[in-house]
């Protein structure tokens, strides 16, 4: 499991509006990569382009290459459904399916694709995924209760369990902790540390300490002004970005003199 991603000169448009311009980067397998940058600079846009989720938005399109272990995601004939089965995503706001129980939420990726699955197999996957998301002990007695009845932090970990239940190669997380308290945040950060042994992880965050704590590499995005496209300013080892970045704008941003 876990594959690397290479992005080559990616432009992302919403209709006529160029939101992200000319991004190239390498994302290593089995590592955590953090995206930081001021609001509106295109981090979410870029992240969603990595598993073709932007196509859900009418008018959104990309130019350039995104290679998953050498396979171009945007090549002719590639099915976005298959892309997303390999590259999972966790969103800013927890979004468990309200009609499903905790167990069904975890198994949603398998059940919605109506793969056949025995009860014991389902139990096994549910337990493994929930343990993987550090949630098992809290919900093991209420697996049949609605997933929407959990606390916000538990719901977010439920969504992570749901994402890893389908065993993707890559896990994209868009500000997964922004709606959570410090303790749940810590739980998820620990979790990211464990998950990176098996998955390639990309995380968007506004929290510098979080980026510094969890990530191996950090990418700084910036925007010249409203209406201008967002760009990748620099990408380097996290310690380097936070101690002696190569670009002045990065230094200003991480030290809080900006944005």
């Amino acid at each position: 499991m876990s594959k690397r991603i290479d992005v080559g000169d990616l432009n992302i448009y919403y209709g006529d509006f160029l939101a992200v311009e000319g991004v190239s980067m390498e994302i290593e397998a089995r590592s955590v990569t953090a995206f930081i940058g001021p609001s509106g600079c295109g981090k979410s846009t870029f992240l969603r382009a990595l598993n073709r989720m932007h196509e859900v938005i009418p008018g959104a399109r990309v130019e350039g290459k995104v290679m998953l272990d050498g396979e171009d995601l945007y090549a002719y004939g590639v099915d976005p459904v298959n892309v997303r089965r390999q590259i999972g995503m966790v969103f800013q706001r927890p979004n468990p399916f309200p009609t499903m129980s905790v167990r069904d939420n975890v198994l949603a990726g398998i059940k919605l694709n109506s793969a056949r699955m025995g009860k014991s197999e389902g139990d096994e996957i549910a337990e493994r995924s929930l343990r993987g998301a550090n949630l098992w002990n809290e919900v093991k007695d209420r697996l049949d209760k609605p997933g929407a009845g959990l606390s916000g932090g538990q719901q977010q970990r439920l969504c992570i369990a749901r994402a890893i239940a389908v065993q993707p190669e890559v896990l994209l997380m868009d500000e997964p902790c922004s709606a959570l308290d410090p303790i749940s945040t810590l739980a998820i950060e620990d979790l990211i540390g464990e998950l990176k042994q098996n998955y390639t992880i990309v995380i968007v965050t506004h929290n510098m300490q979080q980026a510094a704590r969890v990530s191996d590499r950090t990418a700084f995005f910036n925007i010249a002004g409203t209406g201008k496209p967002g760009k990748l300013i620099e990408m380097d080892d996290t310690t380097k970005i936070f101690t002696k970045p190569g670009v002045k704008a990065t230094e200003d941003y991480v030290s809080g003199r900006f944005g």
Binding site: R84, F91, T99
Partner: protein, 367 residues
């Protein structure tokens, strides 16, 4: 009369004089007494008493409140009284309709009424009932069956078409086609029901010969009225399904059609089902389209694909407009009212079912 209770602290900026809870009640009783006295002077009548009471109350309460509590509270109380008044006025027709339907309908309403048809019932029997006190015979079983069958058929036609249209509009529709569909659905909403009836009658005349009337033609006419309602209400319900759920499903690699089937529809099903039930309630009492498509009969016909079929609204119409016995219309009118009562009961049951469905399917929360 002391109207203040909370004595404000000299220094406090938060407390303020307030009317005691019971002061408005007291004022209302006083307004009632004054209204009764005034209307007694002019010549008592119930509507005058009610109107005077309410007007006096709507004037006095804001004045008292303005003196004690200040301008903002006075306006607040005045508007509150207006809102309550509007609500009660809106209720008056509803309550009086139910009141008169129950009052007039109960005399002929019975198990017998619901289980017999009008076959072989003539004006002669009605004259005997009216003049010699013979029991009322003849009921609305054939009309009840007709209404249930025609409405069920109409629902069977409209629900799939309406639901699929709304899914297209919400999940797929972009650009000109979607806008055209929305436009025509809006136009359909405004079609007068008699026009829908004539359309179905003309359609069946072309397909099966002039003068073809049966329950199915009635169902088609009702569908024309029902489809736009189903489209509109389902569309509304599908639109409020949060986009985040769709994205969550996409991110798991779920194909779009399965996402719609397994995530969007289950999330919206309670609203869709109750919308459908209300759409049925909307058309179950339609009269004009059924008269021109399904016709009248006094016998039981449970085959909607051949022969004329009675329905409750047509039954009410025919008995009220053309009583069996010209000289003794009362028994016929009693039956018409009883059928109207049956119709109202059906509509109320449908509303109740809509609520139960909404509750049963609603996404569950809690531990």
């Amino acid at each position: 009369m002391t109207v203040t209770t909370s004595t404000p602290h000299e220094s406090s900026t938060l407390t303020h004089d307030q009317l005691h809870r019971y002061v408005p009640v007291g004022l209302f009783v006083a307004a009632g007494a004054l209204g009764a006295a005034l209307s007694a002077v002019i010549g008592f009548s119930l509507p005058m008493f009610v109107v005077l009471t309410v007007v006096i109350f709507a004037i006095v309460l804001p004045i008292v409140s303005g003196v004690v509590e200040g301008r903002r509270k006075a306006i607040d109380r005045f508007v509150t009284v207006l809102v309550y008044m509007a609500f009660v006025i809106a209720l008056v027709p509803l309550v009086s309709v139910i009141w008169s339907v129950i009052g007039n309908g109960l005399s002929a309403f019975s198990a017998d009424f619901l289980t017999t048809s009008m076959r072989n019932v003539t004006g002669l029997e009605d004259q005997q009932t009216a003049q010699e006190g013979a029991p009322l015979i003849g009921g609305a079983y054939h009309a009840l069956m007709g209404t249930l069958l025609i409405t069920a058929l109409a629902a069977a036609i409209s629900v799939p078409i309406g639901l699929m249209t709304s899914i297209y509009l919400v999940e797929y529709g972009r650009g000109r086609l979607a806008r055209a569909i929305t436009f025509f659905v809006d136009v359909m909403t405004g079609i007068p029901s008699i026009v829908a009836g004539l359309f179905a009658a003309a359609l069946f005349a072309v397909l099966f010969g002039v003068g073809t009337r049966n329950g199915f033609a009635g169902a088609v006419a009702l569908s024309v009225l029902m489809i736009p309602v189903v489209v509109r209400s389902s569309e509304e319900m599908l639109r409020i399904v949060p986009n985040e759920l769709r994205e969550a499903a996409y991110a798991l690699g779920v194909p779009k059609w399965r996402m719609i089937l397994r995530v969007v529809i289950p999330t919206a099903i309670s609203g869709i089902a109750s919308g459908v039930t209300l759409a049925i309630a909307r058309v179950v009492g339609e009269t004009a389209p059924l008269i021109v498509t399904a016709g009248f009969t006094s016998s039981i016909n449970t085959n909607p694909f051949s022969d004329w079929m009675m329905s409750l609204p047509a039954y009410v119409y025919s008995l009220a407009m053309r009583p069996l016995s010209g000289s003794e219309p009362q028994p016929s009118l009693d039956r018409a009212w009883a059928a109207a009562l049956t119709l109202v009961i059906i509509v109320m049951l449908l509303n109740l079912i809509a609520r139960l469905i909404a509750k049963a399917f609603a996404p569950k929360t809690g531990r």
